[in-house]
Symmetry: C2
Subunit: 198 residues, 2 copies
């Protein structure tokens, strides 16, 4: 494609490098930026760099934070007896949205995946062990319901149980608002297995 402006071409390439954004969407976004007032574009540019400059990792839970320890770890309103282990900072956000969990978190930074060269040393497993048992009575393993997440759950269960803390995992079953007819067999098996007496 022949661009009449090199600056536009560069911005299209920057947008197209983002995950899930193709060249057509990138061009649409770049032309949108071109139509915005300069101060709004500067604000967006500053927000990008700020994310790199202001955010670091909490030395306790390894979640992203601007203060150390993070607002969750340093909060007096959270229950320090329960630690919920997740893969990524986005999982913390998802759980916080439920407003149902009042304990602390621990972000592993991924899940075990030997084929990709990700073993326990690549994850924040050592940092998790350092927090245990202390006043912790329960560890909830909230990993993704896929092969890597399952493997990590198994691995951590074996590691944590001898420490004398209760280890639990999230329930598997029908998603709320879902449809029994269109639920896959594996999920349905888990829903049957975990049925609840009324």
């Amino acid at each position: 494609m022949i661009y009449t402006s090199e600056a536009l071409q560069q911005l299209v390439e920057e947008f197209a490098a983002l995950p899930g954004i193709g060249r057509k969407t990138a061009l649409r976004l770049a032309l949108h930026i071109l139509k915005q007032p300069r101060e709004d574009v500067v604000k967006m540019a500053r927000a990008l760099v700020n994310v790199k400059d202001k955010i670091s990792w909490c030395s306790v839970c390894s979640n992203i934070t601007e203060t150390d320890p993070c607002v969750i770890c340093s909060s007096t309103k959270r229950d320090p007896r329960i630690i919920c282990v997740v893969e990524e900072p986005s999982d913390v956000l998802a759980l916080e949205k439920t407003n149902d969990f009042k304990g602390l978190y621990h972000v592993l930074g991924g899940a075990l995946s030997p084929l990709d060269g990700i073993g326990p040393e690549e994850l924040k497993v050592g940092e998790l062990l350092k927090r245990l048992p202390g006043e912790v009575t329960e560890v909830i393993l909230a990993l993704n319901p896929n092969v890597e997440g399952e493997a990590t759950t198994m691995y951590l269960t074996r590691l944590l149980k001898p420490l004398g803390v209760q280890v639990s995992r999230l329930a598997r079953g029908l998603p709320v608002g879902g449809n029994l007819e269109f639920t896959d067999e594996a999920t349905l098996s888990r829903a049957l297995e975990g049925r609840i007496t009324l």
Copy 2:
């Protein structure tokens, strides 16, 4: 949602303000940015501001450009006898991709839309008339095949014909790679109407 970082929240809001990007995608993009090396993020931020600082509008064809007149208007390899009238700079890019048009362009900046308060004064119609007839022999109206584009085509045809230039429009018909069975009636009518003798 409770963000543990204000900088992250701000970036999510900036991304979510882009067209076609929802809050979930915005969060995914922001977390992607967080994982990138700082110099890459700075490069992207600079590309954003550059687009505003370096790009202006060509005084001849009203297309986006970094030089005035733009590379197309100032090229000696283009045929100045044909002007192709389009709505937006992105339409110029689409036509340039075909490599089939060697004339000049004129970017209107939109199409007539009385309901949105867009009349001929809001478009670069006066600038188009100033270029005619001169050495121009043909004006191709390449507006979008929708109501506003049709209305603009009609309006410009009536305005340009008395100037003694040939006025043409893009053909309507079956899109290449399309399917007769699933083509809408309006397109099929136009395809029949514009059938070509073999």
